[in-house]
Structures are given as structure tokens and as C-alpha cells.
């Protein structure tokens, strides 16, 4: 009954593909310089000249959206990769270590999870300077607890299985145990988690920049463009449309992709 390539998977691939394509193109080409102002030509609606119109400084919205996509995508990928690696390592370490260390590590993750992300972003901005980097770091830290918990619970589950018990009783070294016996069965679950985490990382990044804590002007980010549009919502409501729609497509794409991968591995309960 379950299709291996579900609708979600295909739609997810198409939508994320679109976003990735847009981001890749923006490296080589944007219709205009996304930071160049044209004060004579503000708040224009979509036209042949500016496909998505211009913003409150007369900057081309399409170019800004493309740049913003690239930043969101790379920020999301980077923070999730780092966060998941750290989280998985933490989880495995907790799973393999003694009771006390394990308790300590998990309390540490709990503290991380409870720490307000806004404050974290601010603190990191103070330490690392402004821009994409501190918010990537903050999101990365935000990602750690969920991955370490997932890894820990799955590793525990796996360890209770017979073949692992057998391996342990044969004195297989710890590194071998992790690499060849514990990790492989976890990979599909982690992959699912990873894909949907990119979506939440993108959302978090845009929330932070909506609050002015992420990427700094004049560079564009989707959240920032929305927070700028908020000032003109009564006079120029169109301003809120392009960045919002693109952000939605991006999130939808990653969520569908995560769903699709999940279905493919046949694990509905994740």
C-alpha cells in the first residue's frame, strides 16, 4: 500500500530543487545587484523590468530573494550538519559511557535545550561578530539536544538487541562497535530527522533575522525582508508577498522531503 516514491517525496524534491537552483544561480547571476538602491523607483509592483518589483529603497526584490535563499540554505545546511554531528557524537558518547558521565551529559543537553535561543544568538553575536555566523552557531546549538536525545534513545534500543550484545560479549572494540554495528541501523532515522531539521533551521534563522538578530543589512535575508515589509503592510502590502511565499516554499519543500524520505524507509512512527 505504501508507495516507495510518494507524492511527498516528489513534491519535496521539486520544491527544494527549485530553491537550490535559485540559490545556485544567485552565485553567478542576479538580475540586479540586490544591494543597489534606486530611490526614484521605490515600491514598484512586478513588471518586465523588475520581475518581483522593488522594495522601499528601490532594490530589486527578485535579486534580494535569490541572495536571501542562498544565505538561508547555506546557513540551514551548515548549522544542521554541525549541530547533528555534535549531537550524534554527544548521544553516542552518553550511550557508551558510564552512568555518571551519561547523567552529566544529558543534564548538559537539557540545559542547552532550555536556554533561550534569542539570548544565545545575542551572546554569540557578541563573541563572533555580526552576520550569518552567530545565528548559524546559535541554531547549531539549538539542534544539538534533539539529535543527541534521538541518538541516545536509538543507540540504547539497538544495544538491547541480541547481535550487539553478542558483539559486546566478543569484546569488539568500542570504535568498531559504533562504526559498524550501532550507526548503520540509525542512519535512516537520522537522515529523516536531518531533512526536517533543515526546515526548522531555516525557520529559526528567518525568525532570528525577523527580530534583527541574524544577517545584517544591507545583505538580505528572508526574515529581514519580512520585518521590513511589516512597516509597509498598510501602505504597500505587496512587499510582504515575495519573501513570505519563497520562505513558505522552502519550508514546505524540506518538510515534504523529510516526509518522503521517512515513508521511503517505511518508518511511519518517526
Amino acid at each position: 500500500m505504501r508507495k516507495r516514491f510518494s507524492f511527498s517525496l516528489i513534491a519535496g524534491i521539486v520544491l527544494t530543487g527549485l530553491i537550490v537552483l535559485l540559490s545556485l544561480i544567485s552565485v553567478f547571476y542576479t538580475p540586479y545587484d540586490g544591494e543597489a538602491m534606486d530611490l526614484m523607483n521605490r515600491f514598484s509592483l512586478p513588471s518586465a523590468e523588475h520581475l518581483l518589483g522593488t522594495d522601499h529603497f528601490g532594490r530589486d526584490i527578485l535579486s534580494r530573494v535569490m541572495d536571501a535563499c542562498r544565505r538561508a540554505l547555506s546557513g540551514g545546511l551548515l548549522s544542521v550538519t554541525l549541530g547533528s554531528l555534535l549531537g550524534i557524537m554527544l548521544g553516542l558518547a552518553a550511550s557508551l559511557s558510564g552512568r555518571k558521565t551519561r547523567e552529566l551529559l544529558m543534564r548538559f543537553t537539557d540545559a542547552l535545550a532550555a536556554f533561550p535561543t534569542i539570548l544565545m544568538a545575542l551572546m554569540l553575536a557578541a563573541a563572533l561578530g555580526r552576520g550569518l555566523l552567530p545565528s548559524v552557531a546559535a541554531i547549531c546549538i539549538y539542534m544539538i539536544p534533539s539529535f543527541s536525545r534521538l541518538t541516545l534513545s536509538m543507540a540504547d534500543e539497538a544495544r538491547s538487541r541480541l547481535y550487539i550484545k553478542a558483539a559486546v560479549s566478543y569484546n569488539v572494540p568500542a570504535r568498531r562497535l559504533i562504526l559498524f554495528h550501532l550507526l548503520p541501523p540509525l542512519l535512516s532515522r537520522l537522515l529523516t530527522q536531518l531533512t526536517s531539521s533543515i526546515g526548522s533551521a531555516v525557520l529559526l534563522e528567518s525568525s532570528l533575522s525577523f527580530l534583527g538578530l541574524g544577517i545584517q543589512p544591507p545583505s538580505s535575508s528572508l526574515g529581514m525582508m519580512l520585518s521590513e515589509a511589516r512597516n509597509y503592510i498598510l501602505t504597500h502590502p505587496y512587499q510582504a508577498v515575495p519573501s513570505g511565499v519563497v520562505l513558505m516554499i522552502m519550508l514546505l519543500g524540506f518538510n515534504l522531503l523529510g516526509d518522503g524520505i521517512n515513508n521511503m524507509f517505511g518508518d511511519r512512527h518517526a
Partner: protein, 303 residues
């Protein structure tokens, strides 16, 4: 919790700027800066500040907000009715929606309703709350001609007006929460209906409706309830963006201002309060599950 609050303390000492500078603004002179700093206790060493704060905390004294000049505990209490009702109402709405849709989707699988519920799940996860807020704000003021933002009426003044003034924010939050909830309701309902005992019930002659509503629903409830515990905890601390867009004076907006104004006591108070709430929520959910749901899973085990 202690760890969290100590990290907060350190964080606030690391970020540049302090409350004394904020208070003096562009009028700062060296002498007045010293006076204000000592007034706020900022001239003391880090450890002595930490010590005196925790000493106060033991006697439930959260200190005074350096920005508002009011008692931190009072400020937090003033925010609670709004933040709690935002969280509860939106969760309630999300719960009702996902129960109805989730059960229907599970009963009529692969039907129109099932597809619809999947779309809702995806949309809920993909609509950024701040964008949805902007759209709703625009829609309300343009189409409904009803200016919701900015006309906050507190609960004590008029409950209907209070509900009206928070309605849009509740919708936004409910949309965000209903997705995960709906997904989990659907999955656990399907899971329950695939169990052997469910088939057994029908074999024994129970109508499908009865089997669904009196048996499957019960056993499928534990996952959504524990998720809701987490969601509630999250909502208590995390509605800052929605609150600031709809100009609602809640805990999240208070937190944003406190951080911006380097109001150490206030930030600390809110962080401690929220992490306490999270811990309590987790305990409460555990308790609820153990008392209400556990007898059921025990009986399941017997089969």
C-alpha cells in the same frame, strides 16, 4: 535550571552594554555613570553579584527590574494571564481541530479527509508564524475592517473584548501547533486501529463506531497528550514574535525588551520562571499519563 540561570548570568555579562549606560543614554557623564552603576550594583564583582542574586532568590525575591523600576515578580505575574490564555486557547483550538480531523483521517484512510489533513500538517509546519501574522493583520484590517492589533483589552476590563483582542494571535499559534498534533493523532489512531484487539472488538460484534470511539481513541491518546505538554511549555516561553506583531503585552515581549535593555534581573527572572514552567509541565504530563493512561496500557499488556 540552576545551570541555565548561571549561563544566563554569564551571557549577560559578556554582551556589550549595560543597564547603567542604557539608563543614561546620550547624557552619560563619567560621574553619573558611576553613581548609576553602583545604584544598580553593577560595580560589584561578578561572583558577589551572583551570590547576592541567589541569596535573594532563596527567599523568592527576584529583585527589581532596572529598566521599569518595578518588582520582577510583579512584572511576570502581570504577563501571565495573557500568555497563559494565549497558550491554552491556541492549544485547545489545535487539540479540537486535530482530534476531529485526525480521527476522521484515520477512519477514512486515503480519503479526501485524509489528504486534507496531510495538507494541513504540511501547511502548519511551513507557514512561518510571523508571515501568517502579517497576512492575518492585513486581512483583518482591510477585509473585516476590524482593527485588532493595538487595541489590547486586559481580561479584567472585559472578557469578550479580551478574547477579541487576542483572537488573531490565537489563530496564528493554533495553526502552528495543530500540525504536529494532527500528525500524531492520526498516526496513533491508525496504530490503534491496526492492533489485534481492535479487530477482535469488531469480530465480537461491536459497531465500528463504538470500537473507534470507546477503545481506539483511548489507547491513542497518550502520544498527543505528552506532545501537548511539550507544546504548552514551548508556548509559555516562545510567543515573543507573535506577541510583538500583535502588540500584546505578554511574557515573550517582556523578555525581548529585557534583553534589549540589559535588564539583568528581569531576564534572569523570566528564564528561571520559564524553565521552571517547562519542568513542571513535563512532570504534569508524566503524572497525567501515569494516572489516566497507564491503567489502559497495563490492560493492553495483559492481552
Amino acid at each position: 535550571m540552576l545551570l541555565v540561570s548561571i549561563i544566563t548570568f554569564i551571557a549577560l555579562s559578556v554582551i556589550p552594554g549595560n543597564a547603567a549606560l542604557i539608563a543614561l543614554g546620550t547624557e552619560a557623564s563619567a560621574a553619573s555613570l558611576d553613581a548609576v552603576s553602583s545604584d544598580l550594583g553593577l560595580d560589584q564583582s561578578f561572583s558577589s553579584r551572583l551570590f547576592s542574586y541567589y541569596k535573594g532568590l532563596l527567599s523568592l525575591d527576584f529583585g527589581t527590574s532596572s529598566y521599569f523600576g518595578q518588582d520582577v515578580w510583579t512584572l511576570i505575574l502581570q504577563r501571565l494571564p495573557l500568555t497563559v490564555s494565549l497558550a491554552l486557547l491556541s492549544l485547545l483550538a489545535a487539540f479540537i481541530l486535530s482530534m476531529l480531523l485526525g480521527c476522521a483521517a484515520a477512519i477514512y484512510r486515503e480519503s479526501f479527509i485524509d489528504a486534507f489533513s496531510r495538507i494541513i500538517v504540511q501547511l502548519s509546519a511551513s507557514l512561518p508564524s510571523f508571515w501568517l501574522s502579517l497576512l492575518l493583520l492585513l486581512f483583518a484590517s482591510r477585509v473585516l475592517g476590524f482593527s485588532q492589533a493595538g487595541s489590547y483589552v486586559s481580561m479584567s476590563e472585559s472578557i469578550p473584548l479580551f478574547l477579541k483582542s487576542i483572537s488573531l494571535a490565537v489563530i496564528v499559534l493554533a495553526v502552528g501547533e495543530s500540525g504536529p498534533l494532527l500528525r500524531i493523532v492520526r498516526i496513533s489512531m491508525i496504530g490503534a486501529m491496526e492492533e489485534d484487539w481492535f479487530t477482535a472488538c469488531q469480530v465480537k460484534g461491536l459497531s465500528k463506531r463504538k470500537a473507534v470511539f470507546s477503545y481506539a481513541l483511548r489507547s491513542a491518546l497518550s502520544a498527543p497528550v505528552s506532545l501537548m505538554g511539550l507544546q504548552l511549555a514551548k508556548l509559555l516561553g516562545g510567543t515573543a514574535i507573535v506577541e510583538s506583531i500583535f502588540a500584546l503585552p505578554g511574557l515573550g515581549r517582556l523578555f525581548l525588551t529585557a534583553v534589549e535593555m540589559r535588564d539583568l534581573n528581569l531576564v534572569q527572572g523570566i528564564v528561571i520562571f520559564v524553565s521552571f514552567a517547562v519542568v513542571m509541565m513535563n512532570l504534569l504530563t508524566d503524572l497525567l499519563l501515569r494516572v489516566v493512561i497507564n491503567p489502559l496500557s497495563a490492560s493492553e499488556d495483559r492481552k
